[in-house]
């Protein structure tokens, strides 16, 4: 893989991806994403907005009966159009996943060394011994002694297990790593360790990274770009820090406001949140899916579902109140109507 080719085609390009579960839940609705090698994309959003679904769809790991449309171009090839044999070849070697909840993502009855070695043997066609040796190296790379390869998952702490997952994800030198909430349920200190590790590995190996989290603060700290999802849609996208600091979409705003900044007197004794309940993906509200919870919703929002629109340099947001200059449109309802 030459560097020039990477420049031309992005590592991963998702076009108009839609996922409908067998039950009729439209978990992902027309998502477009792009990740270049060496770049880090963060996907944020509340629980149930379709983040994991999106991640699984990338490697066609969704359960049978799920309808997936659109295009997923991994190194220019459409994963959705591949034969199963090709898909299997792409899995882990092309892109690997660090799953949410490492406890359950590791097989409890196999030693972690074997679990790391497994994809190496499969994709690199090495001997078992060589694969095990490599597994040991990978463990060291994520800061675990190689001797721990003999351990079973339950013998490790949560942070260690997550490291094992990361080591495993690196096993076949994939171009892209998808980390689905790699630090949820971890302690602050461990979380910091893991994030630092991921960052370091990604920058060392020039990998593409998609990091999924509901913690906007963490994502803005770690990633280059940030996509905020709501009800299966990307509602705002842009450079990470900007989106976090100055969100345009009311949802992103509420989300970023929910993270208190210590030392900021404004948030002292003033926790902020987002009233209302997340929508049910199998019965989405008409119009803008966020309008029932939106404090600045207009009448038109109940009927009209806005597309992503340019909202400043490198930024997009899906809200009628967002203007192309990147500034939020005026808050007043009359004015908003007049502009639209």
């Amino acid at each position: 893989m030459s560097t020039t080719s990477i420049r031309k085609t992005p590592l991963l390009e998702v076009r108009d991806l839609t996922v409908t579960y067998a039950g009729g839940a439209r978990a992902v609705r027309g998502v477009n994403l792009e990740v270049d090698a060496g770049r880090k994309l963060g996907i944020a959003g509340e629980s149930g907005c379709g983040k994991s679904t999106l991640a699984l769809a990338l490697l066609r790991l969704l359960p049978a009966g799920t309808k997936v449309t659109g295009e997923i171009l991994l190194n220019g090839e459409d994963v959705l159009a591949m034969k199963w044999g090709q898909v299997r070849a792409v899995r882990w070697a092309g892109a690997s996943i660090v799953f949410q909840g490492a406890m359950h993502s590791l097989n409890a009855v196999h030693r972690i060394g074997d679990q790391i070695a497994e994809p190496i043997v499969l994709h690199r066609k090495t001997t078992q011994a060589a694969a095990r040796k490599r597994a040991g190296e990978l463990l060291e790379q994520v800061g675990l002694p190689a001797a721990r390869a003999d351990a079973y998952p339950h013998e490790l702490s949560g942070g260690q297990r997550q490291r094992v997952m990361i080591a495993m994800a690196l096993a076949c030198d994939p171009g892209l790593i998808i980390a689905d909430e790699p630090t949820t349920a971890l302690d602050v200190m461990i979380q910091a360790q893991i994030l630092r590790l991921i960052e370091q590995l990604v920058s060392e190996q020039d990998l593409g990274l998609i990091m999924i989290s509901h913690d906007l603060a963490v994502l803005s700290d770690t990633c280059d770009r940030l996509a905020v999802m709501y009800a299966g849609r990307v509602v705002e996208q842009g450079p990470a820090a900007e989106v976090y600091e100055r969100a345009h979409h009311p949802y992103s705003k509420a989300l970023s406001g929910a993270f208190p900044r210590i030392g900021d007197p404004a948030s002292r004794f003033a926790p902020r949140g987002l009233p209302g309940d997340p929508p049910d993906p199998s019965a989405l509200p008409a119009g803008c899916t966020f309008h029932p919870r939106c404090t600045v919703a207009l009448d038109s929002c109940t009927t009209q579902d806005p597309e992503l629109r340019v909202a400043g340099p490198g930024r997009e947001a899906a809200c009628v109140l967002v203007g192309p200059d990147g500034v939020s449109a005026p808050q007043g309802a009359e004015e908003a109507r007049s502009t639209s």
Partner: protein, 332 residues
């Protein structure tokens, strides 16, 4: 401290240890804690995973018998007889981390809220009490929720139900063990706001257990930082979170995403309560000691060998650290 009468709940040198597993020594989960909570005060207890926060909270409620020390409520030492405990638990309520788990999937919201009333054989109008508690917890109109099952509610709603269940008995103190850890960031704020409002409206005291320093900043008056079974730093939230003195607190704050400066990532796993190191219990991971700064301050030896006293439970800012004490002495 000076006047114990003003304290609603206080712990003195509280110790809880569990029998060690696999031949390991005793796990000293709580290893000498003094903590006072005054009426109407919200105290945050923060610390890393496994440092004994939950155990402390549970022992305050008499759910685990302490192996040492004493819990005093309203001036009287806690009686562990089953009747006295029952009476105690009418006045002190527990809210757990996981609202989905805290609700019996087979009980309706009404049943869940009324449970406390039924246990304590509430004499008044049960329905009215439940209605009140629900609407106070922000579930309005309450009747709409009466017969829902937990799985029909969102996470935030569930936590509100749990809180309503605690409120219905009109307690004086709520012990909340990571009340928002399992909730989405967006919902989190709502629940915290609710706690604040209850404090304002009802004068409720609360002990909030968390590993999220932002939460403490959001709602607490006072914070206690716990490490390996001990409180290592305690005091006013503004003071502790903006000017931490204990290296451990400093490290915790430094790894927050929005923190300025280089994060101090402590290496290694959470410490093991069955192997409490001698000297300062933090010294093995202490960045100050590691960087040689403690050496320069001339306390390195003390850090390694000299035990630190148990911090008093009162309101003043205190820190259990040889280096910080030395610095404080040097500074004035």
């Amino acid at each position: 401290m000076t006047s114990t009468t003003t304290d609603l709940l206080s712990a003195r040198d509280l110790r809880v240890s569990f029998p060690g597993r696999h031949g390991a020594g005793q796990a000293r989960a709580v290893d000498g804690v003094d903590l006072d909570i005054r009426p109407g005060e919200i105290v945050a207890l923060v610390g890393e995973s496994g440092c004994g926060k939950t155990t402390l909270a549970r022992s305050l409620l008499g759910l685990v018998p302490p192996t040492g020390g004493q819990v005093t409520f309203d001036g009287k030492p806690l009686d562990y007889g089953s009747r006295a405990l029952k009476a105690y638990r009418k006045r002190v309520q527990l809210v757990l981390q996981d609202p989905s788990g805290s609700l019996n999937p087979r009980h309706t919201v009404y049943d869940a809220v009324a449970e406390g009333l039924r246990i304590h054989r509430y004499g008044g109008d049960e329905r009215e009490a439940v209605t009140n508690a629900l609407s106070r917890a922000g579930l309005r109109p309450p009747e709409r929720f009466f017969l829902r099952y937990p799985h029909e509610l969102s996470g935030g709603q569930r936590q509100r139900v749990v809180i309503a269940g605690a409120l219905v008995l009109e307690p004086e103190l709520i012990v909340a063990d990571e009340p928002v850890a399992s909730l989405d960031a967006s919902v989190r704020g709502e629940i915290l706001a609710l706690l604040l409002r209850l404090r304002d409206e009802l004068g409720l005291s609360a002990l909030v257990v968390t590993h999220d320093l932002g939460l403490a900043w959001n709602i607490a008056d006072r914070v206690a930082v716990m490490y390996l079974g001990r409180i290592v730093e305690t005091g006013d939230v503004e003071q502790i979170l903006t000017a931490p003195q204990h290296p451990y607190t400093q490290a915790l704050l430094s790894v927050l995403p929005e923190a300025e400066g280089e994060p101090v990532v402590l290496t290694g796993e959470p410490p093991d309560p069955s192997k409490v190191p001698s000297g300062c219990r933090f010294h093995l991971r202490c960045q100050v000691l590691a960087s040689g700064e403690a050496e320069r301050a001339g306390v390195a030896d003390a850090c390694r060998t000299k035990d630190l006293p148990v911090l008093a439970g009162g309101g003043e800012t205190q820190v259990a650290c040889h280096w910080a004490s030395a610095a404080a002495v040097a500074r004035p």
